[in-house]
Amino acid sequence: MSERTLRILVGKPGLDGHDRGAKIIARAFRDAGFEVIYTGLHQTPEQIVSAAIQEDVDCVGLSILSGAHNTLLPRVCQLLGEKGADDIKVFGGGVIPEDDIAGLKSAGISEVFTPGTSTEDIVKWIGTNIRPRA
């Protein structure tokens, strides 16, 4: 039986218009052999969750630079839970103050990557923490 290919949704919730970081991450995931569903800019949490379910992804990576992370990231986790899809892990990256990370993790975010994190480290984290579903 062939191995499953890991599927990841990469999206940008909210209003900031800078997706260079998200694209670099998407590209690094592609090079790591993952299938990346890239949903682009200005997504609502509802759109992200609906796409994650239809695409049957193993995890959702959200890039956020606008400062609205404390609202948008927990909202994605909450909606996944409401749809019975809280087995889909959520991680975030972007300009997120250290002080906010503990709160985000207690709201269900698996990991937060701050500026300066290398793409290798993120890919490595995925390899250790996210398994394609059985």
Binding site: A32, E35, G40
Partner: protein, 319 residues
Amino acid sequence: MSLSEKVLTGDVRAAARLMRDIDDNRPSAVTELKQIYARTGNAYIIGITGPPGAGKSTLVDQLTASFRKQGKKVGVVAIDPTSPFTGGAILGDRIRMNRHATDDGVFIRSLATRGALGGLSRSTSDVALVLDALGMDIIIIETVGVGQDEVDIVKAAHTTCVVMVPGMGDDIQAIKAGILEIGDVFVVNKADREGADRTARELAAMLEMRDTPQGDWQPQVFKTEAQRGTGIDELVGEILTHRDHLFSSGLIETFLRERNERHFVDILRDSLYKHAMAFMDRTATLPRVLDGMADSSIDPYSAAEEVIAEMLGYDPQSV
């Protein structure tokens, strides 16, 4: 409840998971597909094909909006390429379709080609079956960006739309074999660009050169600006006219027979291959053949015939 039972009640999560199992080649997916097969065949399948950057995804977005206005439920299968080096893929067709993400009447699934060469993934037909079982009225399949020879879509879709853009080359391109032979409808997208009229004229001239028997479908060329929604109503009208033609002419019977043949033969070939590999594994045939080829005591042609003879219990030379 099994995945297939859930799909038949309209469960989106179950449908998405079954599609994954199909794509990942899980044996359980075959069991589930057997359960839904009899309940499919209701959806009308539209294929959208053309070169990369022609605007296929934007066109799919507009067609989806148009069919939603008519109250139809729409499934979309959008295919992007797998990297031949890493096996990874960036599936970005959804970016153009995000406005439908929270519409319960739309289900969009992105697939990677995973090594298939005909413009679709191996799983595409079966994923479309799941969308059909989920109750979608219209299924739109967007191929990977194609060049000249990726024509699998024509066997998967009832109506195939070939999307071109202005400035793709001179009129000799239009008489070559390949994707230009498979369109039921031709679209020149980005029609606001210079050269659109010329491209449309050349395509029309190419189509007129065909020797179409009386009563057969004669493809037409349509100009669209998918970004602005210009020309979409006319395109939808033409797709529906083609559908009516398929049914009124009885050509639908031939189409379905050919499609089913293709589907069955693909499954049979896959299945025979898997069985043969498992058989060789069990009987340790492969190392023996490779040793024989190394010292030229066995040729690969005879070795293949012997495997088939042993596995199926008959001599391929005798049939």
